[in-house]
Symmetry: C2
C-alpha cells in the first residue's frame, strides 16, 4: 500500500507526498498545494487529498520543504545559560510570539564562552533558520559574516550600548547603574559596597559595576569596596558574601548587588542576623524578580523587562523585513521595595 514499506516489508515508514498522491489519484504537486492552502484548489480535489492524507496520517516533511525554499520556520536562539531566572523569562517571551506564528526556537547555550558560542552559532546557522537571536553585543569576529551570508535578520538582546549587527533590544546598563547610584545617594547612603558573582562572566554586569563606581565617585562618595565571588549567583552566595563584606568593611551602610538572587541572600542574612534593613543596611538588587516582592521586607531592585525583551526581540525579527534594523531601549525602573 504505502510505497517503500513493500520493499522490505517491515516498518510502516513515513508517508510522503507521493504516497498521498497515489492514494488520492492526483499529482504530487496538487497534494503539496492542498497541504499548504495554496489558492485555486477545487473543493473536490481538496477533499480527495485530505481524505488520503488523513488515512495515511501524512505529515509534511519540512526538511525537504526548507531545502527547496531555502528558508525554514526555525529561529536560532543563543543564550548564555538557563540557570538563573533571567534567560528562561526571555525565552518565554520569545516563544510567546514565535509559537503563534508556527515558528520554533532552536536553542543553543554558550555558557558565557565565546568559542563555544561560535561553535553553537555555526551549528544553528547550518539549519537555515529564518532569523537569529543573540545575547549581548560582543561576539567573535567571524559571526557577523556568517550571518550575513544567510541574509537573515538578527536581533541582539540584553544590551543596547554598542554596535549591534542588526537590531537590538535591551536596556542601558550604564544608565541603570547611574540610576542606582543616584537613588542610593539620594536615600542618604554614603558608604556603599557592591557584590557580584561568578567572576562577572556576563560583561554587562562588569559594565554596570564600573558605571556605578564612576557615578559614586562623581557624587563624592566613592565605592567603599566590591566583592566579586567566583561562584555562580545564588541566595546562599549572596548571604555569605554579604556577611563577609560587612566583616571586612563594617562602615558599609548599603550594598548594590549584581542581581536579585544575591540581594535576596543579603536580605535573608540581615533578617537572620537581626540587622535593621534599611536603616542599618540598605540593599538594592537588580532585575526585580517575583519572589522579592513577597519577602517580609520587599526587596528594592532595578526592575528589568525580561519577558518583554524576549517578546520584542521576536517581534523585531518578524518585522525586520519592513522596518529594518532598530535599536529599542525598553528601560528599567526602580521598584518600590523597602530595603533601600
Amino acid at each position: 500500500m504505502s510505497g517503500r514499506s513493500d520493499i522490505k516489508g517491515d516498518k510502516p515508514a513515513r508517508s510522503t507526498l507521493r504516497d498521498v498522491a497515489l492514494l488520492a489519484g492526483v499529482s504530487e504537486i496538487s497534494v503539496s498545494r492542498v497541504m499548504r492552502d495554496a489558492p485555486n484548489i477545487s473543493d473536490k480535489l481538496r477533499d480527495k487529498v485530505m481524505a488520503a492524507a488523513n488515512s495515511l496520517s501524512y505529515t509534511p516533511n519540512r526538511v525537504a520543504g526548507a531545502l527547496k525554499n531555502q528558508s525554514s520556520n526555525l529561529v536560532a536562539v543563543v543564550l548564555p545559560s538557563m540557570s538563573n531566572e533571567v534567560f528562561p523569562s526571555v525565552l518565554d517571551g520569545i516563544e510567546s510570539i514565535l509559537n503563534d506564528q508556527g515558528l520554533h526556537a532552536v536553542l543553543g547555550l554558550s555558557e558565557y564562552d565565546r568559542d563555544r558560542e561560535l561553535k553553537v552559532i555555526r551549528e544553528l546557522l547550518s539549519w537555515s533558520p529564518m532569523g537569529i537571536i543573540l545575547t549581548g553585543l560582543h561576539h567573535l569576529d567571524p559571526i557577523p559574516g556568517m550571518i550575513a551570508q544567510l541574509d537573515i535578520p538578527v536581533v541582539q538582546i540584553m544590551d543596547i550600548e554598542g554596535a549591534p549587527i542588526g537590531s537590538a533590544v535591551g536596556i542601558s546598563h550604564s544608565a541603570a547603574a547611574i540610576a542606582a547610584a543616584d537613588y542610593l545617594h539620594g536615600r542618604g547612603y554614603r558608604k556603599i559596597g557592591y557584590i557580584g558573582a561568578w567572576s562577572e562572566k556576563p560583561q554587562r554586569s562588569k559594565a554596570r559595576r564600573r558605571a556605578f563606581e564612576a557615578r559614586l565617585q562623581a557624587l563624592g562618595c566613592p565605592l567603599v569596596a566590591s566583592l566579586i565571588s567566583e561562584d555562580r549567583s545564588s541566595a546562599m552566595v549572596g548571604a555569605q558574601t554579604t556577611a563577609a563584606l560587612r566583616q571586612q568593611h563594617p562602615e558599609i551602610d548599603c550594598i548594590f548587588y549584581a542581581n536579585d538572587d544575591l540581594a535576596l541572600g543579603g536580605l535573608f542574612h540581615a533578617l537572620a542576623a537581626g540587622i535593621d534593613v534599611p536603616g542599618e543596611l540598605g540593599l538594592l538588587g537588580f532585575n526585580g524578580i517575583d519572589i522579592g516582592k513577597a519577602t517580609p521586607i520587599p526587596l528594592s531592585s532595578i526592575e528589568t523587562p525580561r519577558f518583554e525583551m524576549g517578546r520584542e526581540a521576536a517581534r523585531l525579527l518578524l518585522s525586520s523585513r519592513e522596518s529594518g534594523n532598530v535599536i529599542k531601549d525598553l528601560s528599567f525602573k526602580i521598584s518600590d521595595g523597602k530595603t533601600a
Copy 2:
C-alpha cells in the same frame, strides 16, 4: 567567482559544496567527506579543501544533509511552560548533554493545553528530529502513532506512574505525597492543610494532592482543608493563600504546598506576621529550589532532581538504540530544612 552570485550580481549568497569543490579543484563528494571527517582522506586533499572552504567561509547545509540522511541532529523538546524554575532546570539538564554531542533542542511549549501540544508536536516532528522529549505521560490519542511513524526514540519526563510511550524519567508523585504525609505526621502535626495554584493544571500536582489526602486519611488525621488558587504560582500568591487558609481554618498547624514558590510565600507571610515556624505553623514545600536554602529559616521541602531529570532524559534518548525503553525513577528526598 562563486557560482550563483554572478547570475544576478548581488548578494554574496551562501556557498555550497559545489563552490568549494570548484575552488579546490576536487569533487563535491570529497569536500563532503572532508567536512564530515570521513575516513581515508589524504592530508593533501584535506588541506586543499579546508583552504577553499575557509576562503569561502563555507558552512555545510544541514537541511540538505538531513533530507538525504533521513535524520537530523535536532531533538524535539516539548515542555508545558517556562515560567517557574522547574522546566528551565530540566531544559538546562537536557542541553548539558545534547550540546556536547552537537545536538540541539527545538523547543515547543504546550502551556498545559492538550490541543496546543498536539499542534506543537506535529510541527516539531515535521523536522525529522532524531528523538523527542515530552512532559508527562498523558497525551492526545494520535501522538504515539505520529511518533511511531518516524521511528525515533521518545522519553517522557516528570512522571513515571502510568504507561510511557517509550522511556520515562521522573519521580513517583504519589510516593512523594505519601512521604510528605508521613513526615509531617511523624513531626506531630495533626491539623494539616494544602495549598496549590493555577487550578492544578499539571495533573501531577493533582495526583500528589490526592495521594497526600488519602495518606493523611489513612493515618487518622484527615486533611483539614485545601486551597487551590486560580492564579499562577508565585511567592505572592503563596503569602496570600496562606493568610486566607489560616483565617478560614485557624486550627491548621501545618501546610503542604504544591511547590516552593508558594511555600516561600507562606514562610514570608509567617515571618512578617510573627508566626512561630515551625512551632505554631509547619511549612513543607515541593521541589527544593535554591533560594529556600538561604532563607532565615531554611525551607523544608521535597527535593526533586530537575536538572538531573533533564540530563537523564537526554542520555536515555541517546542510548535508546542499545538499551531500549527504560523507566527510571530518580527519586526525591526530604530536605533538611527547619520549617517543618
